[in-house]
């Protein structure tokens, strides 16, 4: 499968749409254990990305440059916790796809492994801390385990996203150890982590793109 810069931008636009429609839900989750702004922050960040795509990046065809610019734009617009986390993801991902106008299966896998690891390094969170790392870590593990195998990208990615989804759900029963919600201690049990949720949305939206392209190709 091949993903062009144009399709990569389509992905980002789909994320923007997804963020707008899940904004209230993400705020709702964050109100339970954080400061209630996760949906707002995601929306502010991706609205800035939309501006960016419409203007500075309108003619850009280098996927790496797009990813760097998206990361920086998102970070500048939001700061916050997710700013550095997702920005680092986009920047580290970009390093894996330098100067590429078209991404092949291995590029995509490398991009997302670097993205997930970047988030983890930036946040210094471990699995089980009740953060977005609980979504990314099993996802990265799955990509690493199956990425070199014979299966097609669509299958590999779908499996990895299933792991991500499980990771996201696992945050419900965890006690928060990192971020704002960690002060709650036991009171954080029962609530799903907002960042783990937005992370899952980022991934599942990419899966949708892959499946869409596969279908068109098939």
């Amino acid at each position: 499968m091949e993903i062009t810069a144009r399709e990569f931008k389509t992905y980002l636009k789909n994320v923007i749409t997804m963020v707008e429609s899940e904004k209230d839900y993400l705020c709702e989750l964050d109100r339970k254990i954080g400061d209630g702004d996760h949906g707002i922050t995601m929306s502010i960040g991706f609205q800035a990305v939309r501006e960016n795509l419409d203007h500075e990046l309108a003619e850009e065809t280098d996927c790496s440059k797009i990813s760097i610019s998206v990361g920086k734009t998102f970070l500048n617009a939001v700061g916050s916790s997710v700013g550095p986390l997702y920005a680092t993801g986009f920047m580290r991902g970009a390093k894996q796809i330098k100067k590429k106008e078209v991404l092949n299966d291995q590029d995509v896998i490398a991009f997302w492994i670097a993205f997930g690891n970047g988030v983890k390094e930036r946040g210094r969170a471990e699995i089980g801390d009740k953060t977005m790392v609980d979504t990314f870590a099993p996802f990265v593990d799955a990509l690493e385990a199956n990425g070199k195998g014979a299966e097609d990208l669509s299958t590999i990615f779908r499996e990895a996203v299933t792991k991500a989804e499980e990771g996201m759900h696992s945050t419900k029963k965890l006690i928060s150890k990192k971020g704002r919600s960690s002060r709650l201690g036991d009171r954080s049990i029962g609530a799903q982590d907002p960042g783990a949720t937005s992370a899952y949305f980022l991934l599942v939206t990419f899966l949708a793109l892959i499946e869409d392209l596969t279908q068109k190709a098939g």
Partner: protein
């Protein structure tokens, strides 16, 4: 909840505009980043730049504390969200006088990452020496054994004040940081929330709470506390807050302290003084004397109801910093 705003999307930008317009003799906004504000008034003895910052929605924290005797500049984040590295870096470049810059901010994941990234850039790209001191005064936010995990709440005011004074004393970066860290180590806070706040964008209350309940040990971003309890009298609340602070750091007769009873936004001064009254009674009963007290809205959470008590244990040096005059748009001390 009702707000006097235009579009929720513009609140931070418009607040900053209004703030700089109202206090144009005190503040300038950097042309390089509109979230970067620096003072027009600096003590001539000062060598080290003092930078503060964090999310907005805490006014007077943090932009209200830029001026003579406190911070040289502030990076302003979105509501309850750390500023990104860029405005922090721009302020750093603007206020550095060649002797380095002290970053003061609360110990929150977002702030740690963004200020950390800015500090790295300042070092690598600008060759400016940056040192960080994190506010960790909130005793409710982690047990004593994990003190480094604690968040900063109203006690950050004392850290800003002490560090600003140290900078005005002409101290070098090392000594400025020593004072900042001492101020933080000696400062403990504990808060209680009665009513939630709401973000302009959602309008939703930040937590659900019954008419006869209070959140004990809450943060100052409208987060729930560590424990929900029955709403109690001002005296009982004061006792609980002081007890939790003293349990964490026992004070003994003869000790001198500075006290801050901080309103979270919508609690009338009347109530804050009623709480203060009991705090002083309790401390005096233990033979602890109050060197200076502050009662009012110092670091808020939008229109949240409730208050926190902060106690900073003083030595001779910290007393000097407490006494040091300040002239900022939202806080003046003679």
């Amino acid at each position: 909840m009702k707000k006097l705003v235009n579009s929720p999307v513009d609140v931070v930008e418009e607040m900053i505009e209004g703030y700089v317009m109202a206090h144009s003799d005190y503040m300038s906004q950097l042309p390089t980043n509109k979230r970067s504000l620096v003072t027009k008034k600096t003590d001539k003895n000062r060598k080290v730049g003092v930078l503060i910052g964090g999310g907005s929605g805490h006014e007077p924290g943090f932009m209200g504390y830029v001026g003579q005797g406190m911070a040289d500049g502030v990076a302003v984040g979105n509501i309850f969200a750390s500023p990104s590295p860029d405005p922090i870096l721009e302020v750093t470049k603007s206020i550095d006088q060649g002797s380095g810059v002290a970053f003061l901010f609360g110990n929150y994941a977002g702030d740690v990452m963004n200020f950390g990234m800015a500090a790295e850039s300042a070092d690598l790209e600008e060759d400016i020496e940056v040192r960080k001191a994190l506010g960790t005064d909130d005793v409710a936010s982690a047990p004593k054994e994990e003190k480094e995990k604690r968040r900063g709440i109203a006690g950050e005011f004392f850290i800003f004040k002490a560090t600003g004074a140290a900078a005005d004393f002409g101290y070098e970066l090392n000594d400025v940081m020593r004072v900042a860290e001492k101020a933080n180590a000696q400062t403990r806070s504990m808060g209680v929330g009665l009513t939630p706040c709401s973000l302009p964008q959602t309008g939703e209350p930040s937590f659900e709470i019954g008419d006869d309940e209070m959140e004990i040990g809450l943060g100052h971003h409208g987060e729930p506390g560590i424990e929900k309890g029955k709403l109690e009298s001002a005296d009982r609340v004061a006792e609980r807050l002081v007890q939790d602070i003293l349990a964490d750091e026992p004070l003994t007769g003869g000790d001198e302290v500075a006290v801050l009873v901080n309103g979270l936004g919508s609690t009338p001064r009347m109530e804050l003084y009623i709480v203060y009254r009991r705090v002083q009674q309790l401390l005096n009963e233990l033979g602890i004397s109050i060197y200076r007290s502050y009662v009012g809205d110092y670091i808020t959470s939008l229109e949240m109801g409730g208050c926190s008590v902060t106690i900073m244990k003083l030595d001779e040096e910290l007393k000097q910093t407490v006494d040091h005059p300040v002239d900022c748009p939202m806080f003046v001390q003679r």
